[in-house]
Amino acid sequence: MSDKKFFVSRYEKLGWKYRNVNLKQAIRINTMNSKEAEVVKRLQSHGIKLDKIPFLQSGYRVSWSEFSVGATSEYLMGLYSIQEAAAQIPVILFTELTDKTVLDACAAPGGKTVQLADLMQNTGAIIALDTKKQRLTALSNHLERCRVSNTIVYHMDARRSSRLNMKFDKILLDAPCSGNFATDKHWFRKRTINDVKRNAKLQKEILAESAKILKDNGEIVYATCSLEPEENEFNIDWAIKNLNLQIEKIDCYGEKAQTNIFGKQLDSSIENCRRIWPQKTQGFFVCKLIKCECK
């Protein structure tokens, strides 16, 4: 069986019929830098057509533009970011970010770091980590362009983050993952189940380290853009059984995650995670975990 057939048959077992998707570009207004309505008006005055994305706070789909929305003076002044619609979901799941200490464990290229800073209105502190130096440069440029002033960036593997000697109120774990076909047309040719297993192992290690440095009652938002259960439901099932974490119900775009996958029965609270199949957005998985108070 080719890798494509293999993966598509797995999606069918999860109740989703494979179809190709054609994604529209999405943007998110940085409300810390300007009023949303003013930015929309300015972009419309350039002839850019925008549609509000109903399940997001400040997200818009670009339904038409004569030129790249990444080349306007408004973009260069950090009034908005280009950020895929599903990728805007994880950050909005945190409760009350103002003045908090937040870890962005796998931060580059920084779309979600900027979104965090935006929701925090540049208060508190964000510690942003990534392992690749070149990606850190892109992240730093992104922070400078969007006028983020509450972030410290380290060249660090998230599996070593306890070396910072800090405890965090919130942790965004936008985990390195296998991705999905909606954003990569060669995905099926490139990916094998071994990649998925390797990523799942790495994600577990980062989850374990994150649980160590999270304050009691602190929140982890775990997200991947992978459709593979090993990187999503299976990992979360493992986390709640091994890391003193519990799943908090979230209310966002997407469908309930399944609790019985490929014949394996998972914890019933897994249904409080959200699985997003590619259609109007790319594929995504999100979940919110709370650290139980020390016994």
Partner: protein, 157 residues
């Protein structure tokens, strides 16, 4: 430690007050943090708070955040029309006819910030001929740095 910054700012005929305690230097890069970040910052950071700029071969290269801080002061600045705004962020110099307003120095050789009609800072340049000079057109401000640089950096990466 912050001399390169204060010297640069003075070229706009203004000053900004920076708390030395809150300036971090990482090799040749300068960052401004607040007390909250000061408590969180650890050795070996890559980027922190607000990036102010860097020195290279004895010359200071400001960040756009620093230019925005300068723009909040009573600094030399010109406001340009929409067409000139676009040309400027594409790396072009400013022609006399594109200038709508001048504040501060009009003297040849001085630095001036370049702002759009909304008062947002697009970069800075050097005054090539006195802005009082009675000429209809010609290059007046030499582009030294503009926000189009963010795009150029993305392409370079």
């Amino acid at each position: 430690m912050i001399e390169p910054i204060t010297d640069f700012v003075s070229r706009f005929n203004t000053r900004i007050s920076l708390d030395q305690r809150l300036i971090l230097r990482k090799k040749n890069h300068y960052f401004l943090i607040d007390d909250n970040l000061k408590r969180s910052v650890r050795k070996g950071f890559f980027y922190a708070g607000t990036y102010l700029g860097k020195t290279k071969n004895g010359k200071f290269f400001p960040s756009f955040s620093l230019l925005r801080l300068i723009a909040e002061q009573d600094a030399n600045q010109i406001a340009v029309d929409e067409k000139t705004e676009w040309l400027f962020i594409c790396g072009r110099d400013v022609f006399k006819r594109g200038i709508k307003k001048v504040k501060g120095s009009k003297r040849k050789g001085d630095y001036t910030l370049v702002l759009n009609q909304q008062g947002e800072c697009l970069g800075f340049g050097k005054i090539l001929r006195d802005l009082n000079e009675k000429i209809k057109n010609g290059v007046t401000i030499q582009n030294i740095s503009d926000i189009g640089d963010f795009l150029r950096r993305e392409k370079k990466d």
